[in-house]
């Protein structure tokens, strides 16, 4: 399948290179995981040494008994060493020094490519997929620990400080790592396939965006080893400045993940704009790709603000800039504003990809055109735009800008109009449809059910008088779990069950998939519905003690949460069994009967996706309209080496 020509983006003039010098090095000098581990340790030691040297005479360091310079520089040095060991710096450094870099060989089909800094967007997609599932499961374990502590209002499994560390780890892992849970795996893998491209615009940045995520993940987890961070995933400022060095782990990790988001999102945007096949007009772009485009824009516009926030906070913690310190002229409102200016677009980064999957899959499983294609696109773009104007609804009771609250309330409630378009489209698409309740379709319908509850509970939070009750309580917590876990992650699973046959040539077991869906759906709702009531009845978030009267409800929630864990185990078993343990069974090329362009390639797709660049002749959702296939392959488009075509 793989025609033996140059890897995308590597200018080799079309001739296959002989095995390069990089390939003949000893394993520990070769770019890859071993070298990255060594690099991370060496970088960490250098950074720590530098930080100790910088900070040793600092009065603050002596007074506090810990050195934030050393921790921060250690983490940053470790990350640079990790990336250098992976080979992220090889190409740019060689270019900068005027060498002609050795060609990367991306056509190998070995398992090893999944552990390397690779330029193939499909490999990056699979790397992202496995990594995101792992991060999700680790974050889920922290959630179970939280629920175990909350079994009783007075008997404690953890000391209160340790409990807050666990809450913070759970929240940050989920909110930070899961930003790329759909854009990472499915965006990187399928956007080029869906628009008829052979590659992403910036393959090296794409690999960088992935290899930053394990660094961020490990830095964040390592925070537990140095005292954890008490300020939760929101990291509010005076508390975060007061915290011990575990807070540096939070700030560095969130900053790294923000860079990963900027890079990954930007790459998607440029790819969609510039790498579309002939005939792939803006009104033929699949809705999933539209959602990736808008998400990419949100990421590359919002995440820089987070980098700034983390930077400011690290400055306060190390060189004592007092930006958040009232005593010396700072303000605690600064962090709240900077954080939520990123944070609210972020929650749509955690919603739009899910809408994209729902809008993409509904036509396939109803055999009908997407209802109101333009309205759905307008909805996504509208949500993306409005999301930058609503952040102060997180500060309704904070006392800042209280005269402006009606305006923020208006923008916040207005965002439910474009969000509603996704339901409009779903209703229209289901009308007189041929509904097949496959596992992906179950997850779509379940996700819509949950997102409806999440969305409507959001209206209670956007309205100042009702927010007065709900703000900072378990109601908020339940609300965003409904949108993110109940909506976004359900849509993630829908995408996983739907696209895994394309990615691996293997179908996840249908029976186990149904069991996974129904257990997850039932126990998810049984966990989070009572939490609305618990919040309204006066239980604030992140507390380790609560009113006796709420114990019964809390126990119910905790037990349901364990059962979510069981449901996840079923999924993990299914995932491993269907992809690794069972022998592959022959699968039709297009098992769902989709019209989408991604199903025109071989399964799994060849290294350069399309032997010939497709010419798109109709839209992706023309079910029942009598339109022919979405794309044709013409002889004159036979793939030419890069630079010739």
């Amino acid at each position: 399948m793989a025609t033996d020509i140059a890897a995308p983006g590597v200018d080799t003039g079309g001739t296959p290179e002989p095995p390069s010098e990089a390939r003949t090095r000893r394993w520990w000098r070769r770019s890859g995981l071993p070298a990255a581990a060594v690099g991370a340790v060496v970088g960490y030691l250098i950074g720590t040494y530098l930080g100790t040297w910088v900070g040793q005479d600092n009065q603050q360091v002596q007074g506090m008994g810990h050195n934030d310079f050393a921790v921060t520089l250690g983490y940053l040095g470790g990350t640079v060493g990790w990336l250098a060991g992976m080979g992220a710096l090889t190409y740019p450094v060689q270019k900068m020094l005027g060498y002609q870099p050795a060609a990367e060989h991306e056509h190998e089909r070995s398992l090893g490519r999944y552990f390397r800094y690779t330029l193939d967007h499909k490999v990056v997609g699979v790397q992202y997929l496995v990594a995101m599932i792992s991060y999700f499961l680790v974050g889920g374990l922290f959630a179970l620990a939280v629920r175990t502590e909350l079994l009783s209002p007075t008997r404690h499994l953890f000391p209160p400080g340790k409990y807050l560390e666990i809450v913070g780890e759970h929240g940050t892992l989920m909110m930070m790592m899961m930003t790329s849970a759909i854009l990472g795996p499915f965006g990187n893998y399928f956007v080029p396939l869906m628009i008829g491209s052979r590659r992403m615009a910036f393959p090296r940045l794409e690999a960088l965006s992935f290899w930053l995520t394990p660094a961020a993940f490990l830095v964040l987890l390592s925070g537990l080893l140095i005292g954890g961070f008490p300020a939760g995933w929101t990291g509010y400022a005076p508390l975060s400045i007061q915290a011990t060095q575990g807070q540096d782990a939070y700030l560095v990790a969130f900053g790294l993940m923000a860079i990963s988001m900027i890079v990954g999102g930007f790459n998607i945007v440029v790819t969609v704009i510039n790498y579309r096949a002939p005939g792939m007009t803006w009104t033929r772009i699949p809705l999933f790709t539209w959602s990736m485009l808008v998400t990419g824009m949100l990421m590359s516009l919002a995440a820089p603000v987070l980098v700034l926030g983390c930077y400011l906070s690290l400055m306060d913690r190390t060189v004592q800039t007092a930006l958040f310190d009232v005593e010396h002229g700072g303000s605690p409102y600064l962090w709240e504003n900077v954080f939520w200016f990123f944070g609210h677009p972020e929650v749509y980064i955690l919603a739009l990809p899910g809408f994209g999957i729902a809008a993409e899959l509904l036509p396939v499983f109803t055999r009908k055109p997407a209802f109101g294609y333009r309205i759905v696109v307008a909805g996504m773009v509208g949500v993306g735009l409005l999301s930058f104007f609503v952040w102060q609804h997180h500060l309704f009771v904070s006392g800042i800008n209280s005269d402006m609250r009606p305006v923020v309330m208006l923008t916040t409630e207005m965002i439910s109009i474009p969000t509603g378009f996704i339901f409009l489209a779903a209703i229209g698409t289901l009308w007189r449809a041929r509904i097949r309740l496959t596992v992906p379709m179950l997850f779509i319908l379940g996700g819509l059910f949950n997102f409806l509850i999440g969305g409507i509970s959001g209206v209670f939070l956007s309205d100042v008088p009702t927010d007065a009750v709900a703000h900072g309580s378990f109601f908020v917590m339940s609300h965003f779990h409904y949108t993110i876990m109940g909506g976004y992650m359900f849509f993630f699973f829908a995408g996983l069950y739907y696209w895994l046959p394309k990615m691996t040539g293997r179908m996840l077991n249908k029976r186990l998939g149904q069991v996974h869906f129904w257990t997850l759906f039932v126990f998810f709702n049984s966990t989070f519905l009572p939490l609305f009531a618990i919040g309204e009845l006066g239980m604030p978030r992140r507390v380790f003690e609560y009113a006796d009267s709420l114990q019964a409800l809390n126990m119910w929630v905790s037990i349901s949460a364990y059962l979510i864990g069981v449901s996840m185990l079923i999924f993990v078993y299914n995932f491993l069994k269907s992809t690794v343990i069972d022998p592959p069974s022959p699968l039709p090329a297009n098992p769902w009967g989709s019209r989408g362009l991604e199903w025109f390639t071989s399964t799994p797709p060849a290294a350069d996706n399309f032997e010939r660049i497709p010419t798109v002749v109709s839209g992706p959702y023309e079910y029942g309209t009598g339109a022919g296939p979405m794309a044709v392959f013409r002889d004159e488009d036979l793939m030419q080496p890069e630079g010739v075509s």
Binding site: G63, Q242, A433, P588
Partner: protein
């Protein structure tokens, strides 16, 4: 738009019949559910009826719940109806599935949908804004200079006719100062019933959030900020107090029970407090909108403490439960103690 392929007897139905059936089921359910939500569930919704603000929040909760009901019901009824009527066997081979009708949109439905959601959203916005204006911020922290204020309010503590209660958050407890009663600082919150109260919420260290659950008051306590919230108490009873913003290790333990008493009981209590703390009151920093603890760079340095007064050897007024010394308030404005108008 009808097409072959669906089960025969259902395919008979026209679009209009489907619309009528869905609409009928939805209407019937709405007629049953909406009064139940408003009249049966509504009066039991939090935060209850212990203050005018709480009552209006409860009202608002009920109104939102009633508006949400038909939305939920419509989506549920519709999707349930669609799945029940238009479902085909899941394992139909893909090459044997007939395509559905090629409907790309429906102008009337789309316009109706957008119009209805827009009207609902604008209506909710107007409703909530009016509630906020009528209830003086609806119990929320409204910043240093609120625009919707009860009669008798003044940003100056001396001129304000309302009962002033300063809520001071610190890691990890609440204390309360009553500027109209010699500026006494108490460990418990006691309020008179049927009284317009002005909470001045501030913090000495990190961000807390003062949440008087059944009074419907929530206001962030920010260091260096005076965040004002109004509440008009109704009947006598306990007040559940929580901290609603993560503030460190014992955030979960910043729970307290206050009291709403009759005016007489309140007078007795506050006089008792003033008498009890007679010696302490002069040592407190002068009453101010907020206090900036004088520490050096965020960690406690005992050498920075002001010298203790010579005449009494009493400990500082704000006890620190954590064992580690918390920064004690020492006013920046040490020029003169406040006049402290004692109530008659």
């Amino acid at each position: 738009m009808t097409s072959a392929g669906a089960p025969a007897e259902r395919a008979e139905r026209t679009d209009r019949e489907h619309v009528r059936r869905i609409g009928l089921i939805w209407l019937v359910l709405c007629v049953i559910a909406m009064p139940l939500v408003y009249f049966v569930l509504g009066p039991h919704l939090p935060p209850g009826n212990d203050s005018y603000q709480a009552a209006s929040q409860q009202q608002d909760n009920a109104v939102l719940a009633v508006i949400a009901t038909p939305v939920f019901l419509f989506i549920w009824v519709y999707v349930g109806y669609a799945v029940k009527n238009w479902r085909i066997p899941t394992d139909t081979p893909v090459d044997q599935i007939e395509d559905g009708p090629a409907i790309r949109g429906h102008r009337g439905f789309q316009i109706t949908w957008i119009a209805v959601t827009t009207v609902a959203v604008l209506g909710l916005f107007v409703f909530a804004t009016v509630e906020m204006a009528v209830d003086y911020g609806a119990g929320t922290g409204s910043g240093t200079s609120p625009i919707w204020t009860p009669a008798g309010f003044s940003t100056s503590v001396k001129d304000s006719k309302l009962l002033q209660v300063q809520v001071i958050g610190q890691q990890w407890r609440w204390t309360y100062r009553f500027p109209q009663y010699d500026g006494v600082e108490t460990a418990d919150l006691v309020l008179p019933a049927g009284q317009q109260v002005q909470f001045n919420v501030t913090s000495l260290d990190v961000i807390h959030s003062f949440w008087a659950v059944n009074l419907g008051v929530k206001a962030d306590a920010n260091p260096g900020v005076n965040n004002i919230a109004f509440v008009e108490t109704k009947a006598v009873g306990p007040v559940d107090i929580r901290c609603a913003e993560l503030c460190g290790t014992y955030h979960g333990a910043m729970a307290q029970t206050g009291q709403v008493m009759t005016h007489q009981d309140f007078d007795t209590w506050i006089r008792g407090q003033v008498a009890l703390h007679q010696d302490l009151i002069p040592q407190l920093p002068a009453y101010d909108d907020f206090y900036v603890p004088q520490t050096d760079g965020g960690y406690y340095d005992p050498s920075q403490d002001p010298p203790p007064p010579v005449d009494s050897g009493l400990p500082p007024a704000s006890p620190s439960p954590s064992g580690s010394p918390a920064p004690s308030p020492s006013g920046t404005d040490t020029s003169s103690p406040s006049p402290s108008p004692t109530s008659s």
